[in-house]
C-alpha cells in the first residue's frame, strides 16, 4: 500500500488540456464565432475536440502504463512474500490535478473545514468514460459540421456543443461530489440550450424547459444525497467518501409527525442511496423522471446522439458506479435501483413499439437501454452495467447519427420538420443511402442483441447478473459467521446481538432476481422488435417519399383517423415564419437553396456527405466489435479486469453470486438469444413479409390500447394533471393569498382601521363651535363625577419584613387607618403623616389593612388590602427554556 501512495502522481496537468480545450472552444466560438465565419468555427470546434481527445488518450495510456507498473511491482512483492496470486489491485489508480481551491466550508460542528476544491481526478472508471466522451464527442462534432452547415446560428451550436463536452468532462473528472454537481448541472444547462436551439418554435423552448425542470427535481435528490454524505461520511470527495463510508451505516429515524410511534428507522446509506437515485432518475431518464428525454428530441439530431444517448444520460450510471460503496451498503437501495431500471426498460420499450417518429423510437429505446444499465448496477454488476454504457454509447450514437442522415435526406426532399422524421414516409432508403444503411444495420444488430455483437455481451451479462447476483449488507457475513460459531459455542457473548442484527439486515427477496431477469428478457424481445421495425420501415420496401406533397395532408397514413400527423396550420406557419426570420437575418444564401430543391421535386434522397457517413461508420464498427472488451461468456474480459480495482471492495464484501449460479451462465443465455430471434423474426414477418398489415389489424382490433401506447400511456397527461396542475394550483393559492390575505389583512385592514378611526374623529372636528362646546361640557361633567367620589388607592413597598403602605393623596381627603392591630383610628386625619403607615409582616403571614377615605364632599370609601409575605420561590434559572423547570 505504501508505495501506492508514494507514487501517486498528484499534479497531472494534461487534465487541464482535456478540460480546457473544449472550454476555450466554447468561449471562442461563442464570442467571436459570428464574426469569424463558419470555417473558423468548424476548425476551432473540431480542433479543440481533437486536442481534448488526444490528451485523454495520452492520459489513459499513461494511466494504463502506470497501473501496469504497479501491478508488476505488486506481483513481484507478492511472489517475493511467497504468495503467488496476490497481484490484485485493491484501490483504483488515480491521476489528480488540483486546479484551485474552490470552496471551503466549516464542517458540521464548526471545528474543522470541509475543503471542496476544483480538483480533478482520473482513474480506471473515469478514464474509460472520458475516452468515450471525447471520442464519441469528436466524431459527433465532425458529423455536425455538415449536418448543421446551413444553420445561421452555426457558431452558437458549436459553442454549446463544446461547452457541453467541457461540462461532461467536469462531471466525469471532478474529484468530489460538488464538482460532479457542477458538471451535472452544466450538462443540464447545455442540454437545455441545445434542446431549445431552434428557440423560435414554442415547442422546442418548452421541451428545453421541461428537461431542465425534470432534472432540477432530481437535483433536489442530489443535494439531499450530498448533505447526507457530508454529514455521515464526513467528506465529499471520492476518496473521503470511501474512507468515511462506515458512517453511513448509522441509523436515521424518520419521524412521522402524526404518529411518532410509527417512525421508521433506516440506515443513512439507504437514504443517501435513494436520494442520489432520484437525481440519477432525472439525469438518466428513468421512471419517474424520464418524461423529458423523448421531448428532448426537439433538439438537432447530433445533440440527441451526443447528449441524449451517448453521454449525458449515462451520468447517473456513472455516479452510481462511482459511489458503488455507498450504494452497496444498502441492499434495499440497490434493489430499488434494479427495480427502477427493469421497470423503465420494459415500460419504455412498450412505448417504443408503436412510435412512428424515427427519433422518438430511438429516444424510447435509449430510455429502455438506460433501464438495463440501472438493472445492471442495481444488481451489483457494476462493471457490466458500465460496460453497457460503453457499448450503448457506440450503437446508439451510430443509430442517432444515422437517423440524422436519414432525416437530412428526407428534409431535402420534403421540407417539413415533422414529416421528414416520420418513418411511414420513408422506406427503401437502403438503395439511396447504403453507407448509412449498413452502419445503422450493424448498430441495430448490436442493440437487438445479435450474438457476438457488442450489445449481446453487455445485455446478456446484465441479465445474467440480474438473475444470479445477491447483494448483502456488508456486515452480514460477519454476523453470519458469528451465528455459525454460536451453534458450536453458544456461550459466546456476542451471540444474541449477532442473531438480532442478522435478522435486521435486509436482503432482496428470492423472487426478485428471476423477476428482474424475466422483465429484462421481455424488454429485450421488444427491443429487437422495434429496432428491426425501424430498420424495415426506413430502409426496406418502397420509398414512399415520392408521393408526399409537403403542403397536402397525408393520404397513405394507415391510422389517419387515429392520430393525424402533425400538420396543423400553426405548426406549418411557425416553421414558415422561422424560415422567414432566418432569411431576414441571413441574406439569401439559404433562400436560394430552398428554391432550388423545390424546383426539382423529384430529386432522390441522397447519401450523406462523408463527414456525416464516416463517423457513423466508425461508430458502427465499434458497435460491432466493442463487445470483445468484456465478453464474459468467452472469458475475454480486459475491461472487466481494468475496472476491477474500482469495484474491488464491493465485489469482495457485498456482491456475491448465488450458490450454484456459475453453472447457469450458459443456459441463461438462451432466453436472451431467443428474445432476439423472436423480436426480430416478428418484425420481419410483419413489416417485410406482411408489409405492415398485421400491425394495422392489431391496432384496429385494440384501438384504445394502441392509442394509449402511441400516447406514451398518457404519462405526460398524468403528470400534467397531478404535479403540474398541483403546483399551479398551489401557486394560484399563494398568489391569491398574497393579494387578499397577507396584503389584505396587513396592509388593507390596518389602513382601514386607521382611516375608520380617522373618520370617527373627523366627525368631531367639524368646525361647529357648538360641538366643541358640548365636548367641553361633557368633559367637565366627567371630571365632576370623578372628583365627586373618593378614591382609596394604595401602593405597598417591601423592605424585608417591613411593609410600607402609602395612600394616594386627593382633594380634601381625610384618612382613617385600621392596621388590624386593634389600634384603629377613630378620627379622620389629614396631612403628610396620614398618608403612610408601616406594618411588619412575618414570613408566610398575611395581614389585613383597612383604609377609609373621606373626600371634601363627605363621601366615604373603604378599601381593604391583604399583605402577604410569601416564602421566596426556588430560583428557576431558565424561564421557559426547554429542559429547565418552569417558574411557579
Amino acid at each position: 500500500m505504501e508505495h501506492h501512495l508514494l507514487f501517486q502522481p498528484d499534479d497531472w496537468t494534461p487534465l487541464a488540456w482535456i478540460l480546457g480545450a473544449p472550454l476555450f472552444g466554447a468561449f471562442f466560438n461563442g464570442v467571436f464565432g459570428k464574426r469569424l465565419g463558419k470555417n473558423a468555427v468548424r476548425t476551432m470546434a473540431v480542433a479543440v475536440m481533437a486536442v481534448s481527445f488526444a490528451a485523454a488518450l495520452y492520459t489513459f495510456l499513461q494511466l494504463h502504463e502506470f497501473r501496469h507498473g504497479l501491478e508488476a511491482a505488486m506481483g513481484a512483492a507478492a511472489s517475493h512474500g511467497g504468495v503467488k496470486e496476490g497481484a490484485e489491485l485493491t484501490e483504483p489508480t488515480r491521476f489528480t490535478w488540483l486546479a484551485w481551491k474552490w470552496l471551503s466550508m466549516p464542517s458540521a460542528d464548526g471545528g474543522g473545514r470541509l475543503g471542496i476544491d476544483a480538483k480533478f481526478m482520473v482513474d480506471e472508471l473515469s478514464g474509460v468514460m472520458m475516452l468515450v466522451v471525447t471520442g464519441v464527442g469528436f466524431l459527433i462534432h465532425v458529423y455536425s459540421t455538415s449536418y448543421m452547415a446551413k444553420d445561421p446560428s452555426y457558431h452558437r451550436f458549436f459553442a454549446y456543443l463544446n461547452l457541453f463536452i467541457f461540462a461532461m468532462l467536469v462531471l466525469i473528472l471532478g474529484a468530489n461530489m460538488p464538482l460532479l454537481f457542477v458538471g451535472w448541472e452544466g450538462v443540464g444547462l447545455c442540454s437545455y440550450l441545445l434542446i431549445g436551439f431552434w428557440f423560435d418554435k414554442e415547442a422546442n423552448a418548452a421541451a428545453g424547459r421541461k428537461a431542465f425542470i425534470a432534472n432540477r427535481i432530481g437535483d433536489v435528490g442530489m443535494l439531499g444525497g450530498m448533505f447526507l454524505l457530508a454529514y455521515y461520511a464526513g467528506a465529499l470527495d471520492w476518496t473521503g467518501i470511501t474512507h468515511g463510508s462506515q458512517g453511513l451505516l448509522q441509523p436515521i429515524t424518520l419521524y412521522q409527525a402524526a404518529d411518532p410511534a410509527k417512525s421508521i428507522t433506516v440506515s443513512a446509506a439507504t437514504l443517501t442511496g435513494l436520494a442520489l437515485l432520484l437525481g440519477c432518475t432525472g439525469k438518466s431518464a428513468q421512471i419517474p423522471l424520464y418524461v423529458w428525454l423523448p421531448d428532448a428530441m426537439a433538439g438537432p439530431t447530433p445533440v440527441s446522439a451526443l447528449i441524449h444517448a451517448a453521454t449525458m444520460v449515462t451520468s447517473g450510471l456513472y455516479l452510481i458506479a462511482r459511489l458503488n460503496v455507498v450504494f452497496t451498503f444498502s441492499p434495499f437501495a440497490m434493489a430499488v435501483v434494479a427495480s427502477v431500471g427493469a421497470a423503465t426498460a420494459l415500460f419504455a420499450a412498450t412505448i417504443g413499439l408503436v412510435q412512428n417518429d424515427i427519433k422518438k423510437v430511438l429516444a424510447y429505446s435509449t430510455v429502455s437501454q438506460l433501464g438495463y444499465m440501472f438493472l445492471g448496477v442495481g444488481t451489483g454488476a457494476f462493471a457490466m452495467g458500465f460496460f453497457h454504457v460503453f457499448t450503448h454509447a457506440f450503437f446508439k450514437a451510430a443509430l442517432f447519427l444515422g437517423s440524422g442522415s436519414v432525416i437530412h435526406a428526407m428534409h431535402a426532399r420534403i421540407h417539413d420538420d415533422v414529416k421528414s422524421q416520420d418513418m411511414r414516409l420513408m422506406g427503401g432508403l437502403k438503395k439511396y443511402m447504403p453507407w448509412t444503411y449498413f452502419s445503422m444495420g450493424a448498430a441495430t444488430l448490436a442493440i437487438a442483441g445479435m450474438p457476438l455483437f457488442s450489445g449481446f455481451f453487455s445485455k446478456d451479462g446484465i441479465l445474467f447478473h440480474a438473475y444470479a447476483n445477491r447483494v448483502v449488507h456488508p456486515f452480514k457475513h460477519t454476523a453470519e459467521h458469528i451465528v455459525e460459531l454460536c451453534k458450536t459455542n453458544p456461550k459466546m457473548p456476542a451471540c444474541g446481538a449477532a442473531e438480532q442484527q442478522l435478522a435486521a439486515y435486509w436482503e432482496a427477496p428470492r423472487w426478485l432476481g428471476p423477476t428482474l431477469f424475466t422483465v429484462g428478457v421481455i424488454a429485450a424481445a421488444l427491443t429487437a422488435f422495434y429496432m428491426f421495425r425501424l430498420m424495415f420501415m426506413t430502409f426496406w420496401g418502397e420509398f414512399k417519399g415520392w408521393k408526399v406533397d409537403s403542403a397536402a395532408p397525408l393520404a397513405l397514413d394507415p391510422f389517419a383517423n387515429e392520430e393525424p400527423l402533425v400538420d396543423e396550420p400553426e405548426a406549418h406557419e411557425a416553421h414558415a415564419h422561422g424560415e422567414q426570420a432566418h432569411d431576414e437575418e441571413h441574406g439569401h444564401e439559404e433562400h436560394g437553396h430552398h428554391h432550388e430543391d423545390l424546383a426539382t421535386p423529384a430529386a432522390p434522397p441522397a447519401e450523406a456527405p462523408w463527414t456525416m457517413a464516416l463517423p457513423v461508420a466508425i461508430l458502427a464498427v465499434f458497435a460491432v466489435f466493442a463487445g470483445f472488451l468484456y465478453a464474459e461468456p468467452l472469458r475475454i474480459e480486459p475491461l472487466g479486469h481494468w475496472l476491477d480495482p474500482v469495484f474491488h471492495h464491493v465485489n469482495m464484501v457485498s456482491v456475491h453470486l448465488k450458490e450454484g449460479a456459475e453453472q447457469l451462465e450458459k443456459p441463461l443465455m438462451v432466453p436472451g438469444v431467443l428474445a432476439f430471434l423472436i423480436g426480430s423474426g416478428i418484425a420481419y414477418l410483419w413489416y417485410v413479409k406482411g408489409e405492415g398489415k398485421t400491425p394495422a389489424e392489431l391496432a384496429a382490433a385494440w384501438p384504445r390500447l394502441h392509442r394509449a401506447a402511441l400516447n406514451k400511456w398518457y404519462v405526460d397527461e398524468l403528470y400534467d394533471a397531478t404535479i403540474i396542475e398541483g403546483t399551479d394550483a398551489l401557486a394560484d393559492g399563494a398568489a391569491l393569498m398574497d393579494t387578499w390575505v397577507v396584503d389584505g389583512i396587513l396592509a388593507k385592514l390596518t389602513s382601514a382601521i386607521a382611516s375608520g378611526l380617522g373618520a370617527v374623529l373627523r366627525a368631531f372636528q367639524n368646525g361647529v363651535v357648538h360641538v366643541y362646546a358640548a365636548g367641553i361640557a361633557i368633559g367637565a361633567l366627567g371630571l365632576f363625577v370623578f372628583f365627586g367620589r373618593p378614591h382609596a388607592d394604595v401602593a405597598t413597598t417591601k423592605a424585608g419584613e417591613q411593609f410600607t403602605i402609602e395612600a394616594t393623596p386627593g382633594l380634601g381627603y381625610e384618612y382613617k387607618w385600621d392596621l388590624g392591630d386593634g389600634k384603629a383610628d377613630q378620627q379622620y386625619t389629614t396631612g403628610e403623616a396620614a398618608l403612610k403607615r408601616s406594618i411588619t409582616v412575618k414570613q408566610d403571614e398575611t395581614k389585613k389593612v383597612k383604609l377609609t377615605v373621606k373626600n371634601a364632599f363627605g363621601r366615604e370609601v373603604v378599601r381593604e388590602v391583604q399583605i402577604r409575605n410569601p416564602k421566596p420561590a426556588p430560583t428557576s434559572s431558565a424561564l421557559g427554556l426547554p429542559g429547565a423547570p418552569g417558574g411557579q
Binding site: Q765, N766, G767, V768, V769, H770, A773, A774, A777
Partner: protein, 103 residues
C-alpha cells in the same frame, strides 16, 4: 331680618346657568349664543354675590362680580364685532355656517 337663605340664590343661579348652557349648546343663532353666555356669566355673578354674604367683611365676591360684569361687557363687544363681520361674510348669523376649519 329674615334673609332669603343662600341655597335659594344658588338654585336660581343654577337654573340660570343651566338655561344659559343649554341655550348655548342648542341654539345656532350666534346672537342667542352670546346672550346665553351672558346668562351664564350672570348666574356666576349671582353665586358670587350670594356667597359674599358668608364673608360679609371681605367683599371679594362683590369685587369678582364687578370684574365679571366688565369681562362680560368686553366679551359682548368683541363678540358682537365678530358677529358683525361674520354676517358680512356669510350673510347669516347661524353659527354652523362658520365651520370653515373643516375645509
Amino acid at each position: 331680618m329674615n334673609a332669603i337663605p343662600i341655597p335659594a340664590f344658588l338654585v336660581v343661579a343654577a337654573i340660570l346657568f343651566g338655561i344659559g348652557a343649554v341655550g348655548f349648546l342648542v341654539r345656532r343663532n350666534v346672537l342667542v349664543a352670546l346672550m346665553s353666555i351672558e346668562l351664564m356669566l350672570n348666574a356666576v355673578n349671582v353665586t358670587f354675590v350670594a356667597f359674599n354674604r358668608l364673608h360679609a367683611d371681605a367683599h371679594v365676591g362683590q369685587l369678582f362680580a364687578f370684574f365679571n360684569i366688565a369681562v362680560a361687557a368686553a366679551e359682548a363687544a368683541v363678540g358682537l364685532a365678530i358677529v358683525l363681520s361674520f354676517f358680512r361674510l356669510r350673510r347669516t348669523v347661524r353659527s354652523d355656517a362658520g365651520d370653515l376649519l373643516k375645509n
